[in-house]
């Protein structure tokens, strides 16, 4: 499975390219501090209740409201290895609390990736962190986990993470209680509809880099994220997200909307609910001791908030996500969607 020739290539990559060509425009070079040579099979596997198969794509694209396109990488549904383009965000995983879950990740020889189920806390060999276990390349690796806390999570690549997660290698991960969708957690509130607000920023320059960029020490600017697009769940937040299904919502007075908010960017965010008050019941997959009512919230990278809206007044409410520079606090851009209450 792990042939010696590839191992040598990778090791030569480390030796020969150190401090060198990690960066712009090159081909699929070897990279440094990529740990696919450590790969071995997961020896903790048991029979799963549910299995997700994920391949990867690195030639996807997203068209912005201004007509420009940027390169997107992500995961595909199915084990086909590399495919031509794919969905963005990557296909969601939805499981029930207590199920034993397998995630089978297939990565071709081209490159290395992992899946880290963010907020899920499995054994170390199923955590998808390259430097602690291994990066996946030229094989299929199976992660095993048993989610015990309902709520909103996401999964993302954890290889050269700074770049790969920015490139779009993430998807939603929802853990339902045994009651299934419609109930937030056992004994907790119910909801009638869901919206996914996965708020992210895109730096178009970063999206021209190759998968090993910077790993051998060249300065490719990964310390400095200068986003020019601001998106919600894979849709441009300039205009398109205002009407995109699953993001924008139309509901009636008396209905309950669950917004699953994920801060998928790297700069801090502030999200205003446009005059609505929401109730946070869960954050980061943990039920709050007491729910909290808010008209806005701030969040930073990787945080999730599960917020229920029960509007009592018809109207159009604009949800505004400000992405703020991590040093200056300056608003770099906004992404917007809406809740229409009839």
């Amino acid at each position: 499975m792990f042939d010696i020739e590839k191992r040598n290539r990778r090791m030569m990559g480390m030796g020969g390219r150190g401090g060198g060509m990690g960066g712009r425009g090159g081909g699929m070079g070897g990279g440094c501090y990529i740990y696919d040579e450590n790969q071995r099979a997961n020896d903790t596997l048991v029979t799963p209740d549910v299995t997700f198969r994920r391949g990867i794509y690195m030639n996807g694209s997203m068209t912005m409201d201004d007509g420009n396109t940027v390169t997107i990488w992500g995961f595909t549904d199915g084990g086909g290895g590399m495919s031509m383009g794919g969905p963005f965000p990557s296909p969601a995983m939805r499981v029930t609390q207590g199920q034993i879950v397998h995630t089978q990740l297939t990565v071709p020889m081209c490159c290395a990736h992992t899946i880290h189920h963010h907020g899920i806390e499995p054994g170390w060999e199923s955590d998808g962190v390259g430097h602690i276990s291994w990066d996946v390349s030229g094989t299929t690796y199976t992660y095993q986990w048993r989610p015990m806390h309902p709520g909103t999570y996401f999964y993302h690549c954890h290889t050269n993470t700074v770049l790969h997660a920015e490139m779009g290698m993430y998807g939603a991960l929802i853990v339902d209680p045994p009651e299934g969708p419609g109930t937030l957690y056992s004994g907790g509130p119910t909801y009638d509809m869901e919206a996914f607000w996965v708020v992210d920023e895109i730096d178009s320059f970063w999206h021209t880099l190759n998968w090993t960029a910077g790993t051998c020490g060249s300065d490719v600017g990964l310390n400095d994220l200068n986003p020019d697009y601001f998106i919600i769940t894979g849709v441009d937040g300039a205009q398109s997200a205002m009407n995109a299904p699953g993001i924008a919502t139309t509901m009636q007075v008396g209905q309950k909307l669950l917004a699953r908010y994920i801060c998928a960017g790297y700069h801090p965010q502030r999200i205003h609910f446009g005059g609505l008050t929401g109730t946070i019941h869960i954050s980061d997959g943990r039920v709050l001791p007491r729910p909290v009512q808010v008209t806005e919230l701030r969040a930073h990278s990787g945080e999730r908030y599960d917020v229920i809206f029960e509007p009592d007044t018809p109207g159009e409410y604009i949800i505004t996500c400000e992405i703020r520079h991590w040093v200056s606090g300056e608003v770099l851009g906004t992404a917007r969607t809406r809740i229409t209450v009839t």
Partner: protein, 333 residues
């Protein structure tokens, strides 16, 4: 001026900083308040980064020949009096400040000043030089102070959730262009763009990198930073941000119990896997519970996990070098 190669960081930086080390400032509950003494030499020098860049720093150092960034982590108990002697070896002024507690005022070049103050409120504090704020602090003049509740060895504040071990995570971000201007007495003239990111003064050295596994070089193995515990070894972590960038502190393996934010006790303890750490002196206190990772199957009692900042720019150095930023490892033993 001293030049501190990163290969030699540890001997100076580590020895004086181990929590609970012998000495007057130790984490052993006492029935009575005490007067505790320390001397800090304010020193300057260069620290070589992973890409070979020498960056100018200043530190509250244990010796006149050292360069400790951050300064020694101090642990006292409420009611204690601290008598700190600050020896300024620089040719510019310095100061020693704990916001709301003590302010030495400017200490001139070559001057030695003794600062005496009593700490009443249990909690976590950043000590720093607030002259030309934030410049002197950014140059490295900062450190952490823990004030334990009087007579208590296992609480952050009286009645808090309890712990059996404690750590400081002092984060910092570094823009070498600013450090160079400040060394030359000039105001920075570029937007602050950090290029290096540290945890307790060190950054990651992933497996295969020079210095990987060396606790004096590699933040992943620095005993001040890396969490070690068996199931139940609940660890209090006093998190502070000496830098300017807002960070997201992310732990794998367990969620963190979130006790305080910027010195204020949270109304409820939330369990979080990511926490928003404000830039410019933001602070959090959390407990990492060392529970069996809840979603592991079969249940995992041992293993290794990372703590990294999820504001991922902080995981780089010099514009690349993923994993050479502010990161450490968590060892379930």
């Amino acid at each position: 001026m001293k030049r501190r190669d990163f290969l030699r960081i540890g001997s100076a930086g580590l020895a004086g900083s181990l929590l609970g080390a012998t000495g007057l400032l130790s984490w052993t509950p006492r029935a009575n308040a005490a007067t505790l003494e320390r001397t800090f030499h304010v020193t300057e020098g260069f620290i070589t980064q992973i890409d070979g860049t020498d960056v100018y720093f200043r530190g509250y150092s244990a010796s006149p020949t050292g360069l400790d960034v951050p300064g020694e982590a101090l642990i006292v108990q409420a009611g204690d009096t601290l008598r700190l002697t600050i020896v300024n070896t620089l040719n510019v002024a310095t100061s020693f400040v704990i916001d709301g507690v003590v302010d030495s005022g400017p200490i001139g070049p070559g001057e030695t000043r003794t600062v005496t103050f009593t700490v009443d409120q249990p909690g976590s504090y950043l000590y720093h030089d607030n002259l030309n704020a934030p410049h002197n602090r950014l140059l490295g003049l900062h450190g952490g102070l823990a004030v334990m509740p009087a007579g208590s060895s296992n609480e952050l504040y009286p009645g808090s959730p309890t712990f059996v071990q404690q750590y400081f995570w002092l984060f910092h971000d570094i823009d070498p262009a600013w450090h160079d201007r400040l060394r030359r007495g000039l105001a920075p003239n570029t937007a602050y763009t950090p290029r290096y990111f540290t945890l307790n003064g060190l950054s990651g050295r992933p497996p295969g990198a020079p210095g990987s596994g060396d606790p004096s070089i590699d933040s992943m193995h620095d005993p001040r930073s890396a969490l070690h515990g068996s199931i139940g070894d609940r660890a209090l972590i006093r998190i502070m941000n000496a830098g300017l960038a807002a960070q997201s502190v992310h732990c794998h393996g367990n969620h963190m119990e979130w006790l305080t934010e910027n010195g204020v006790i949270r109304p409820d303890v939330w369990e979080k896997d990511c926490l928003y750490l404000d830039g410019d002196k933001g602070a959090l206190d959390v407990i990492y519970p060392f529970e069996v990772p809840p979603d592991s199957w079969p249940p995992a009692r041992t293993g290794e996990y990372p703590m990294h900042l999820h504001s991922e720019m902080s995981q780089t150095a010099a514009g690349g070098y993923y994993m050479f930023g502010a990161i450490t490892d968590i060892f379930f033993e």
